[in-house]
């Protein structure tokens, strides 16, 4: 009996290691391949060089896709961070009739398939002044990013002591002072995480962007998508590694700030 117990947990651990390998495999393969200088992608690489990295930064089309992604992600952050934080504060501080409804509404876009969101926005706004601009992509990404910021801030605010604000008010601070000098500093790590979360949500989003970008506003993931559909070239690997590096840095910073457990609660 004792031996059997030992075996079953061993078996689980082995399965778990295999699943981890499964999870990491594509990431590792893309990274290693990006260092291979050969013109045709083959795995494993024969030798290592930074040839395609130099190539990436010498190509205007790839560079501009990269800059577009940064620009769209920055604007998305600018919109989603205040939207999400304010809504989460309202949820924590007040109780009112429509609270449940508002709470659901904000996360609904995240539950709807991004394919549908992209298509509906294209149909509704593609032919208005927003069509073909950065703002149509930013708006679409902000729907998701706001939902994430909102959920992250809800988790942060759950441990937040409301009586501190009362104390500030009793000491004569007006609501604005209270917000800037008491609320914000206490929520600092949550807010910074929210900023990063909003940024990376947009930076990595591809499905909506496929419908909403044009050759002028094309983002890096959409450029990779085009390349995979029509002409796979080693430089696509470099673009992919850049996406992975951004994700890794963002995850590391947010984990440091709010802990991996808080990160894992977002979107589940």
């Amino acid at each position: 009996m004792g031996k059997l117990k030992f075996d079953s947990s061993r078996l689980l651990d082995v399965a778990c290691v295999l699943i981890c390998l499964f999870m990491l495999l594509p990431v590792v393969v893309v990274f290693l391949s990006s260092l291979d200088p050969r013109k045709y992608i083959r795995f494993p690489p024969s030798e290592f060089s930074l040839k395609w990295y130099e190539f990436f930064f010498s190509r205007e089309d790839w560079k501009s896709a990269f800059m577009n992604s940064i620009y769209v992600a920055a604007l998305t952050t600018l919109i989603s961070t205040p939207c999400g934080i304010l809504a989460a504060l309202a949820y924590r501080k007040y109780s009112f009739k429509l609270k449940g409804l508002f709470n659901t509404l904000i996360v609904v876009p995240y539950l709807m398939p991004s394919l549908l969101i992209g298509i509906t926005i294209l149909m509704a706004l593609g032919r208005t002044f927003l069509g073909g601009t950065y703002y149509i992509v930013v708006g679409a990404h902000s729907l998701w990013a706001t939902a994430f910021v909102y959920m992250l801030m809800q988790a942060t605010l759950a441990n937040y002591d409301l009586t501190l604000e009362e104390a500030a008010k009793d000491l004569g601070a007006n609501p604005f002072q209270t917000f800037v000098e008491v609320t914000l500093p206490l929520l600092k790590s949550g807010v910074i995480s929210a900023v990063i979360f909003g940024f990376i949500t947009s930076f990595g989003e591809v499905t909506m962007a496929i419908f909403l970008t044009t050759s002028k506003t094309i983002t890096l993931p959409v450029r990779i998508w085009n390349s995979l559909k029509y002409e796979i070239h080693p430089v696509t690997l470099v673009a992919s590694v850049i996406c992975m590096v951004f994700a890794a840095i963002a995850l590391a910073v947010v984990t440091k700030l709010v802990g991996i457990e808080a990160v894992s609660k977002i979107g589940t």
Binding site: V30, F43, L116, G139, I210, I260
Partner: protein, 292 residues
């Protein structure tokens, strides 16, 4: 002064509403109005390559409900979702079980490995699988090196590679859902079962598994919805015979340029999504009640 006070008190009274206002405006412009427009679009006159012609007709609906090719695609996508949901649930449950039973560094590392793919975008992950399954990819080169095959085999661009890709992108989310459910199970309940003489397996089957049903149902629902609406993964990892419903919708919008017809298909997909959510809510309620 008095006027100022009333105004201020109104702001206080409705401050919760003002705090929600920016998000609500965003939702109105980019979510509510567009969904309304989708419904309107489905009644316009659709001609290939014309985007749409303003009008009011039911012909798009009639065309969809009589188009057996598109019913076939829907059926194919449903068939695709079966292996995806089942494999995802099994792998996710194992991973989540180990995570929730571990602590410290082990739990941290497993969590990071789980979460990292979520933060990378779909195309990059699909690219990775393309390189693994490719003619000169990882699997072929391993098999060649081991002498098991003498020349590269076609491994990618088929049903199996699409299933692997979809399982891969669903897995992290479902693991996290299951971890939060498994974490919330009071260990005392399992201890009690053991004290009453239940073996490890029996405790798992009769106590842990039923208690984690809500997470399993949620996980099944999400992997189902994502497969039904998937289009990036199957169009990169599949061949033309793995055309999912999502791919066909995107083709109607981007290639055929028949928006009203694409709108009808989108509404069908939205309907499937909503029904899946409602059904899973009902089942979850039942499961929770049955357990307690």
């Amino acid at each position: 002064m008095e006027h100022g006070n009333t105004r201020r008190s109104i702001i206080y009274k409705y401050s919760h509403f003002f705090l929600y206002l920016p998000s609500l405006i965003l939702l109105l412009v980019f979510f509510a109005v567009p969904f309304f427009m989708l419904v309107r679009m489905s009644f316009n006159i659709g001609r290939p390559l014309a985007c749409y012609i303003e009008g009011f007709t039911f012909e798009n609906y009639a065309r969809f409900f009589t188009n057996s090719y598109h019913h076939g695609l829907l059926l194919f996508t449903l068939q695709l979702s079966v292996p995806v949901v089942l494999i995802t649930l099994i792998l996710a449950y194992i991973m989540a079980y180990v995570i929730s039973r571990s602590s410290g560094l082990k739990r941290f590392v497993l969590m990071v490995i789980t979460i990292f793919p979520i933060w990378i975008n779909l195309v990059v992950l699909a690219f990775g699988w393309l390189l693994i399954f490719g003619r000169y990819g990882l699997i072929n080169s391993i098999l060649l090196a081991l002498g098991l095959i003498s020349e590269p085999q076609p491994l990618g661009y088929n049903f199996a590679s699409v299933v692997v890709g979809l399982v891969y992108v669903c897995l992290p989310y479902i693991v996290l859902t299951l971890v939060s459910v498994l974490d919330s199970i009071d260990p005392a309940i399992e201890e009690a079962a053991k004290d009453l003489g239940a073996g490890k397996l029996r405790t798992f089957v009769e106590v842990t598994l039923p208690l984690s049903m809500p997470g399993i149902i949620t996980g099944a629902m999400f992997s189902f919805i994502w497969t039904m609406s998937s289009f990036v993964i199957p169009s990169i990892l599949g061949s033309p015979s793995e055309r999912t419903f999502g791919i066909e919708i995107s083709r109607q919008i981007l290639n055929t340029l028949n928006w009203p017809y694409g709108a009808v298909m989108s509404l069908v997909l939205a309907g499937i999504t909503v029904v899946a959510m409602l059904v899973s809510n009902k089942v979850r309620e039942k499961a929770t009640r049955w357990v307690s």
